[in-house]
């Protein structure tokens, strides 16, 4: 199992190997950061908002959605803050015009890739993607919708997956692997044809590894994974359990 939050690969923070402390600025504020902290995490600790979608506290870092991009002085391109480590003298801008425009574009592309009909979605009103659209002021999508033909797999007795609403954030994959330890979920295909699968691309209901714990459903940011019996707009997700579970698993390993 991967150590979920460390990007540096070394065990830090003990006496033999103390973490170095950097100074850096985010949006012109002078801040300190540990060497194993990401820009996102430093920003959050200091109350600076950066939008995220795939990132989830308690799961390994992934950098799948790119909504958390920021401008870093001297860097040739924008960088995803959730997987970028703090550095000495780093100068980060979280809301430059360029970043704002790119985020909008990324979000629009996500919407255009699948079929999001919020009004009939179980997650309407409780959806991370939808909330982002409101937050980032997305009023329309400039790209042609792809309208891919995606199916719903309702073979599981308690849950269903609607690929129309999946944003490929891989939270389900990560939580199932890292927390539950079942590794039922995976991603199949490449690029635009990627999609989440259970076991060896078989109906979820026939999966032998799925324990039915429902963690994937709870962490899924959209209406892609939902509990059966929930009607439109009724699917609220509970994620409070994650940090605790993560902590307890860590304790157990000692």
């Amino acid at each position: 199992m991967k150590e979920p939050t460390s990007l540096t690969g070394k065990k830090l923070g003990n006496d033999a190997n103390p973490a170095r402390i950097f100074t850096m600025t985010i949006d012109n504020r002078l801040l300190t950061a540990r060497e194993d902290e990401t820009v996102l995490s430093v920003a959050r600790q200091n109350g600076i908002y950066i939008p995220t979608l795939c990132h989830m506290e308690g799961l390994s870092l992934r950098g799948a959605c790119r909504l958390c991009i920021v401008d870093v002085k001297g860097a040739p391109r924008v960088l995803p803050s959730c997987v970028t480590l703090a550095r000495q003298d780093m100068e980060v801008v979280t809301n430059s015009d360029r970043v704002i425009e790119y985020r909008r574009k990324i979000l629009e592309l996500i919407f255009s890739e699948r079929n999001h009909v919020c009004s009939v979605c179980v997650s309407n009103g409780h959806c991370d993607l939808q909330a982002l659209a409101t937050e980032l002021g997305m009023t329309h999508v400039r790209y042609d919708y792809l309208y891919p033909k995606q199916l719903v797999d309702a073979s599981h007795p308690r849950f269903s997956v609607d690929h129309n609403r999946c944003v490929l954030c891989m939270r389900c994959v990560r939580v199932c692997d890292e927390i539950e330890g079942a590794h039922t979920w995976d991603i199949m295909g490449r690029g635009i044809t990627s999609r989440v699968i259970t076991d060896l691309n078989q109906p979820w209901g026939s999966s032998e590894t799925c324990t039915g714990c429902g963690k994937c459903v709870q962490v899924c940011p959209t209406g892609a994974l939902s509990e059966k019996g929930k009607s439109v707009a009724e699917m609220t997700k509970r994620r409070q359990f994650l940090p605790y579970l993560q902590m307890m698993r860590g304790e157990g390993r000692k």
């Binding site: 073979s155 059966k228 019996g229 009607s231 009724e234």
Partner: protein, 472 residues
């Protein structure tokens, strides 16, 4: 050479419609048709979706009467689940629907039809709308606006949202009624009642002025169909189907909605996206029937609430048998508003109306479900087939306007024959053709043109389709 006169789009009805009138060489009208030119393919795109999305999905068929679609759909889903929903849930659905009846009927009567009724069909089209009405008869217009608002407030209070709420769910409703809401709604009712009674008195007194329209607005014998409850009284969301003939004899009754296909056939027509349903035993097109407010009052044995029952008795005096003129849909709407207000009051005073048990949970247990309800505009059918996992495999809808399709075309023909002669038609004649369609209050899709007037396009078309003349 025979010519077609095409009127499109029809103003002040919801959605997109078009009328073609075929004029023969001698200038007499030989045929008339009502078309729906917009195809939205709901049946198709529901395929593959989980059944529990249907109440919300199908609400999008219409922005004027979404509630009743959600109830029809949830009813069909109830039977897919195979459950009997809690009594309180059924009552709450009924409560919600009464709010919808008030809202929708008020819109139809005051906003869409009253301008014709009050200002006259020959008046300036630019003024013949709710704004014109507001100028000429501020009292009436304000009454209409207020009454509709009350209906909307009831919907919002009960279901949490005015348009497209998601409160009606398979198995019941998603949350119980609170005492606060109960009180709030009770407080709205006196004003609603006052407006309705006042309007009824005024309308009945003015019937004299509309003798010509009454005589010619789809005034012909057809069957009538509606839901009735166990007592044979007016019912909108939970009843059995009854059909009567033009003399008032019962043709068939106690039809379990699930068996509607035994009695109702659907003929597709090359000229319209709206299918033409007919009463199967009589065949097509002889099995022409009508649905809607007047049909409901014709079919039922009473309203079951005191004030509405009085009005109902008076209404039924209009004709010896059923009331045949579709003009009287206006009248029937007012009576139904009265019924809705009384029903809301009695529902809110029921002992268990605040009960918290309002929803049954179950897995899909049956592969097929039918929901039949009375929408403001008439009987509405939702029929689904699902696979074992609850994904929709097939869906069929017969909307109220569809039920009236044949009757509407015949109504247009009747009025066209009376008011149109030759290939020039007066503004007044055109308006009468439109008004007859509006008397059915067709709800064709979800866009409304309640305000203002759209440009009226009239085409004279030869039978082979070449446009002879066009007036914009």
């Amino acid at each position: 050479m025979a010519k077609n006169i095409v009127i499109e789009p029809i103003t002040r009805i919801e959605g997109h419609g078009k009328i073609t009138i075929v004029v023969d060489d001698d200038g007499s009208v030989s045929d008339a048709r009502f078309h729906v030119t917009q195809f939205r393919g709901f049946e198709k795109f529901c395929e593959g979706r989980p059944f529990y999305e249907m109440p919300s999905l199908t609400q999008r068929i219409c922005g004027i009467c979404p509630i009743i679609h959600s109830i029809a759909s949830a009813t069909a889903c109830d039977s897919i689940l195979g459950v009997r929903i809690p009594d309180t849930a059924l009552k709450l659905r009924r409560l919600l629907n009464c709010g919808q009846l008030i809202q929708s009927h008020a819109l139809s009567f005051f906003h869409l039809s009253a301008p014709d009724l009050v200002l006259g069909l020959d008046s300036d089209p630019a003024k013949r709308n709710i704004l014109g009405l507001l100028e000429a008869h501020p009292d009436l217009a304000m009454d209409g606006i207020n009454l509709r608002k009350i209906g909307q407030e009831i919907i919002q209070a009960v279901a949490g949202k005015r348009i497209h709420p998601t409160w009606v769910v398979p198995g019941g409703v998603s949350s119980p009624l609170t005492e606060e809401t109960r009180k709030f709604i009770l407080a709205l009712l006196p004003q609603a009642l006052e407006i309705t009674r006042k309007t009824l008195t005024w309308f009945k007194a003015s019937l004299e002025n509309h003798r010509e329209e009454i005589r010619t607005f789809a005034n012909f014998p057809t069957l009538f169909m509606a839901l009735v409850n166990k007592e044979g009284n007016l019912e909108h969301i939970d009843g059995t189907l009854r059909l009567i003939d033009y003399k008032g004899n019962v043709v068939v009754e106690n039809v379990d909605p699930a068996h509607y296909q035994l009695y109702i056939g659907e003929a597709p027509e090359p000229w319209s996206y709206l299918k033409s349903p007919f009463y199967k035993p009589l065949g097509y097109p002889e099995g022409i029937y009508r649905v809607g407010p007047a049909a409901r009052l014709n079919v039922c044995g009473g309203c079951g609430t005191p004030l509405a029952d009085q009005e109902w008795a008076e209404f039924r005096e209009l004709d010896r048998g059923p009331v045949l003129s579709s003009f009287h849909n206006h009248y029937a709407r007012l009576i139904e508003i009265l019924y809705a207000i009384e029903t809301i009051e009695s529902l809110l005073n029921e002992p268990y109306i605040l009960n918290a048990r309002v929803r049954v949970f179950a897995q899909p247990n049956y592969n097929e479900g039918v929901g039949v309800v009375e929408a403001p505009r008439g009987t509405l059918f939702h029929h689904y087939r699902v696979d074992d996992k609850g994904l929709i495999r097939w869906a069929n809808f017969i909307v109220a306007t569809g039920n009236n399709n044949l009757a509407m075309s015949r109504g247009v023909l009747q009025v066209a024959k009376r008011f149109i002669n030759g290939d020039t038609i007066s503004e007044g004649a055109l308006n009468r053709v439109e008004a007859v369609v509006r008397a059915f209050d067709p709800c064709l899709s979800c866009s409304t043109h309640a305000l203002g007037r759209l440009p009226l396009r009239i085409e004279l078309v030869a039978r082979d389709g070449t446009v002879l003349h066009e007036i914009a």
